[in-house]
Subunit: 382 residues, 2 copies
């Protein structure tokens, strides 16, 4: 029986071409980029070139990038850029929520589709608010936020502050770990001052991420020492990892439009098959502003954990809610925020598509999911 | 012309067997260890087993290990275990010095061989001192510190505190990044409460390290979010990296005694060849308590940077001082601390040996170094 992986939002396999780019830096080019001799200087050059090519993709300066060990570290670093009140939404990733809790904070509610109203954020902004953090796309329901509109609203806020003599800076940070590869992550077009990205969701290496911070932002380093990354994050550079990330993001960005289109068609095919068979199923997330490879679907009254194991027995790997460790055994805060009833939330699957997903696999997956859900529904009715 | 790498203290190539162990976790076993289905649960199990095997090597409980992105992060996390006064030595790595600067701190001087006197540390300890941080072996001059004696002294201090009703805890942390693979890193025998280790210096993957912290220590997480590593360090686990580190440290520990002996003989051969030819050369670090693969040698009046480049032209890769980014263009704080005069410090090379170093390479390296230093001495004399 063929294995059908539908959990790309949790993890992606490393693209063999990415690994091929990384491999020389494990062996012959293993040098410390801070060493003075030519082979090490070449490694330093390759590292900086990789950062520069990432900067091109997101439209930033190379010096505005701080390479980290992943999105969680990047988010924590972003929240070190100031002190005072911060604003986020109720459906942010655990990393953002935990970082926000270290400040005075306001969490803004979202609508039933998981979208936040820029006006509601404007209302939450206080004179001492220095940071607004809104994820580009939600990892559970896939809803894409109106970042450019939030950015435009914040620009007005900044103007107001200047007029009022309020010198508190006001930054917009976005964790785009889930959006990259399907959405535009150009920092100017997004309108963000800070952006978190991760290589692990775009077939790149795990434990590699970055924080873009515009030159205006003064980050407070969390990891001090040798002064690498312009003093913002000490520790010997992750040469192989960053070179892998550069290739992964370049490739993801090039393939982005075609891939997003392809995934959306497959996702819609799956969604249609499931909702046709189960008319009472609830599809969450925004109908239009949603990650193309994402399908969050609830079967009210069914236990999603049982579904996950029954599907696994038939070779289909899917998630229930977020794969975050913190969520184990608790109900997803995202599903609560969009107003799903407990019996709906508990019956939710997150199906996320990726590179290896094709029409035949989706047809096969739909068939297996339908069979499993049907059996479970019958079991519950008995 | 064969390349002779004598900078193993800066970086080591990844052991191909380590890479072979890591490779499955890049491709077929790429799953998020927090996902619920069996292949992901297997990844989680492999990750925990890797941690357990590291714990065996250092003689700790698995739950006392926090996996990090490297020694610098580990050191920063160690310094988050309390508030108040800290004590370190003047020759600690930049990461320790920078972390110490974030607390009220006392830096204890070392002798001309780079050794710290446990009595001097005892004198520096105040009633509000909660942390003493002393690196197991110095990365520049290779001096090994009397950690067990420091630990014994601190045990007496703790007894005194208890008698005096002083409830401030007193912990010993050691960064053993440079010692592992040549020295015993059993936490009980070292007598430490916290231990920083790194895979990058033992032919393991870069960007993987750990902090051992005994159950008594309450760490303050620096990176919050999904609650991984028992809440002490959030972010999806570095499965491949930790599995690579486990293999690297197991292997390094098994080979340790034989390898330390082998390296010491080679180092002594090199030291003898150079000091015989250049009687005014100064060998730094303790004669006996020194890393076996380490030779720090100064040629007074010679410019070490010129030496490094001249040696590179002859295929010999060596370091001048520490390879730390922060040291660029400044004189090493370690050499200053052991009392080297500027004209001596500026003529220093750090030659560090490793796995691929053998007798023939050492004989060849000695010849090339002698030729280059001779030329430089003649140039200076003219």
């Amino acid at each position: 029986m063929s294995l059908i992986y539908l959990d790309y939002a949790a993890a992606t396999p490393l693209d063999p071409r990415v690994l091929a780019r990384m491999q020389p830096y494990f062996s012959e080019a293993f040098y410390n980029p801070s060493s003075p001799y030519a082979p090490a200087v070449a490694v330093r050059r390759d590292y900086e070139a990789a950062k520069a090519s990432i900067a091109v993709v997101i439209g930033s300066r190379t010096g505005e990038l701080t390479m980290t060990a992943g999105a969680t570290e990047s988010v924590n670093l972003a929240f070190s850029g100031g002190a005072g009140h911060v604003v986020a939404t109720t459906i942010e990733h655990q990393a953002v929520l935990a970082a926000a809790r270290q400040h005075e904070h306001t969490l803004v509610a979202v609508d039933a589709h998981g979208r936040v109203d820029p006006g509601a954020i404007a209302t939450a902004i206080r004179p001492d608010t220095w940071l607004v953090s809104v994820g580009l796309a939600n990892s559970e329901i896939g809803t894409v936020q109106p970042l450019a509109k939030i950015a435009a609203m914040m620009k007005l806020e900044r103007t107001k502050r200047r007029e009022q003599g309020n010198q508190t800076p006001l930054y917009l940070h976005s964790d785009a770990s889930q959006g990259v590869g399907q959405l535009d992550v150009n920092v100017a077009r997004l309108g963000v001052d800070m952006l978190t990205l991760n290589a692990a969701k775009i077939y790149g290496p795990k434990q590699v991420g970055l924080l873009y911070a515009s030159r205006d932002v003064v980050l407070q380093p969390q990891i001090v020492g040798g002064g690498q990354e312009q003093g913002r994050r000490s520790g010997t550079e992750n040469v192989a990892g960053v070179i892998g990330m550069a290739y992964a993001i370049e490739h993801a960005d090039k393939a982005r439009k075609a891939e997003a289109h392809r995934l959306m068609q497959l996702r819609d095919q799956l969604q249609s098959a499931l909702t046709t068979r189960f008319p009472d199923a609830i599809v969450s997330g925004h109908a239009k502003h949603r990650l193309s490879g994402h399908l969050h679907i609830s079967f009210p009254g069914i236990d999603a954990e049982r579904l996950v194991f029954a599907l696994e027995a038939r070779g289909v790997l899917v998630a229930t809610g977020s794969a975050c460790a913190a969520n184990k055994g608790t109900r997803s805060h995202v599903l609560e925020a969009i107003g799903l009833e407990p019996h709906e939330a508990d019956g939710s699957l997150r199906l996320s598509l990726g590179k290896q997903t094709d029409q035949a696999l989706i047809a096969e997956a739909a068939e297996r999911i339908i069979a499993v859900v049907t059996l479970e529904q019958e079991r519950v009715r008995r």
